[in-house]
């Protein structure tokens, strides 16, 4: 592990607003692992700055980073183009099921009607992931999906910290 990774881990674990500026800078780092740590750190610190998430949704190349970005996207105020990124990823059937489900969940926090169409298009495995995500994060689909059974667990929610998904 390089010193940058170590620093990233420390910042990501900090869960402190003082780490947020450094984490925002690191979100544009060339190394995907640093970007992932930065997004996790921002999620754990409860950062609500939309720009970092919007930029990531536009140009993030690594799937693992996108998992965390999609999770964060449900918690920040996004513009229409960022929602289009989420919708495109959710609509593309070969996208890993957990990521599709996470994108649908995030979209549902902004545009429930649009998300409902995408939920209906999810296959069985992606629907199970969606249920796991709703169970862990709550949100607009909690009433319809939050009590359903699923074999999956929302790994991103566990990584970020369960308390981040609880709303006032």
């Amino acid at each position: 592990m390089t010193i940058e990774h170590e620093l990233g881990v420390v910042l990501a674990l900090a869960r402190d607003a003082i780490a947020v500026p450094a984490l925002r800078d690191a979100a544009g780092h060339a190394d995907a692992r640093i970007r992932l740590l930065a997004q996790l750190g921002l999620a754990r610190a409860g950062d609500r700055e939309a720009g970092v998430v919007e930029d990531g949704l536009a140009d993030e190349s690594e799937l693992a980073c996108y998992y965390v970005l999609a999770a964060r996207a449900g918690l920040v105020a996004l513009g229409p183009t960022a929602l289009d990124y989420l919708a495109a990823q959710a609509a593309y059937e070969p996208t890993p099921a957990a990521l599709r489900a996470s994108c649908v969940w995030a979209l549902g926090e902004h545009e429930p009607r649009r998300a409902r169409t995408l939920v209906a298009a999810l296959d069985g495995d992606a629907t199970d992931h969606f249920i796991a995500i709703v169970r862990a994060r709550g949100g607009g689909f909690a009433a319809s999906h939050g009590a359903l059974a699923t074999p999956h667990v929302d790994r991103v929610a566990l990584l970020v910290g369960q308390d981040r998904w609880r709303r006032a």
């Binding site: 881990v9 693992a64 990124y85 074999p151 790994r155 566990l158």
Partner: protein, 351 residues
């Protein structure tokens, strides 16, 4: 220079700084007067439409509170004089018994042409208005540029060796690594279906270049991201290298497309300016427009002087009275145009 000369005279009369004088001149410009959609790239004018009832125009001018509003009033007076009959009425008064032929349209066209010539450089420097370019039926810029870039993208990605890695497994493994660093116990990830084929990408990219190239497609490239779905495919297939390639290509393409649009914009503004330069006129229309121009400059000074007196709470002409005179009957304001009487009469003789 005509409108801008009047604006500069008003700026001098209120003792404006260079920066304030520039703001006043900008505010004097009335984009609609150019008669070209391109001119709407300039800031909108504050003053009412010159076709509004004269009482409304007078009331508006009488309330100018700052240099920019004064500029807008100067622009309004210039348009009323040059293109709404004021100068024609003044010319008739200057001509005495002789009837001035109906040259109202020719004078307005002359004024419009001069206005276009005066303001073209500001329009050329403004951000290109794609809707305006579409409205004047300019061929959309950059179609071949975009199609060429899309073809190159397909070519480049097709030449890449296939990657056998399982994308979702790799992503989940990365999350497991990070969880270990955080000392968070994650349950094992479910095995997903994995396929790194990019077959869908060709269709998505090809579709972008398939349709006729229109200005709304240019706008989508400049302000949006037509490659959203292409990136979703590459990302969904775990091809980070292709997502990066697409994004790099998009940034380069948008920069080149923006440059092409700016060049098209400047060329179209220059074409409009040249049409104005070459517009034909008549000696009588020229003479009446010269009268309007001089009168507008004189009116600007009177308006500015009265406005300044009001702003500085000094004794001076009442602004409302001045506005009523300036926008009223030109026969009551012969001082503004009497120097042009010989030129008007000479032009009439030559007609």
């Amino acid at each position: 220079m005509t409108l801008l000369r009047a604006a500069a005279a008003a700026a001098r009369a209120i003792g404006a700084t260079a920066e304030e004088a520039n703001a006043l001149a900008v505010a004097a410009v009335r984009p609609a007067f150019a008669g070209s959609p391109l001119w709407f790239a300039l800031p909108p004018n504050l003053a009412p439409d010159a076709d509004a009832p004269v009482g409304e125009l007078i009331a508006w001018c009488a309330e100018v509170r700052d240099g920019e509003a004064l500029g807008a009033a100067v622009g309004l007076v210039h348009e009323v004089y040059a293109a709404h009959g004021w100068a024609i009425a003044a010319a008739q008064a200057a001509a005495g018994e002789r009837v001035v032929p109906d040259v109202a349209d020719a004078v307005a066209a002359r004024a419009r042409a001069r206005f276009v010539i005066e303001t073209a450089s500001a329009v050329a420097a403004a951000d290109p208005d794609l809707a305006a370019l579409a409205a004047v039926a300019v061929e959309p810029a950059g179609g071949d540029l975009v199609r060429g870039a899309l073809a190159a993208l397909i070519d480049t990605v097709a030449a890449e060796p296939p990657i056998g890695a399982r994308p979702s497994a790799r992503a989940e493994a990365t999350l497991d690594e990070v969880a270990a660093l955080f000392e968070v116990a994650l349950p094992p990830a479910a095995a997903g279906r994995d396929d790194a084929s990019l077959a869908d990408l060709w269709g998505a990219v090809h579709d972008l270049g398939r349709h006729p190239w229109m200005w709304d497609a240019v706008a989508e490239w400049l302000d949006g991201d037509p490659l959203i779905f292409a990136k979703a495919i590459a990302r969904g297939r775990g091809r980070a290298d292709v997502v990066e390639l697409i994004e790099r290509m998009r940034h380069e393409l948008v920069a080149r497309l923006a440059a092409a649009v700016e060049a098209t914009w400047r060329a179209e503004v220059e074409r409009t300016r040249r049409v104005a330069v070459l517009a034909e006129s008549t000696p009588l229309a020229d003479a009446i427009y010269a009268l309007a121009s001089t009168a507008a400059e004189g009116a600007a000074v009177r308006l500015a002087t009265a406005a300044r007196a009001r702003w500085e709470r000094r004794a001076g002409e009442e602004l409302a009275t001045v506005c009523a005179e300036l926008l009223g009957d030109p026969r009551d304001l012969s001082a503004l145009w009497e120097a042009h009487v010989p030129a008007i009469r000479a032009a009439l003789e030559a007609t």
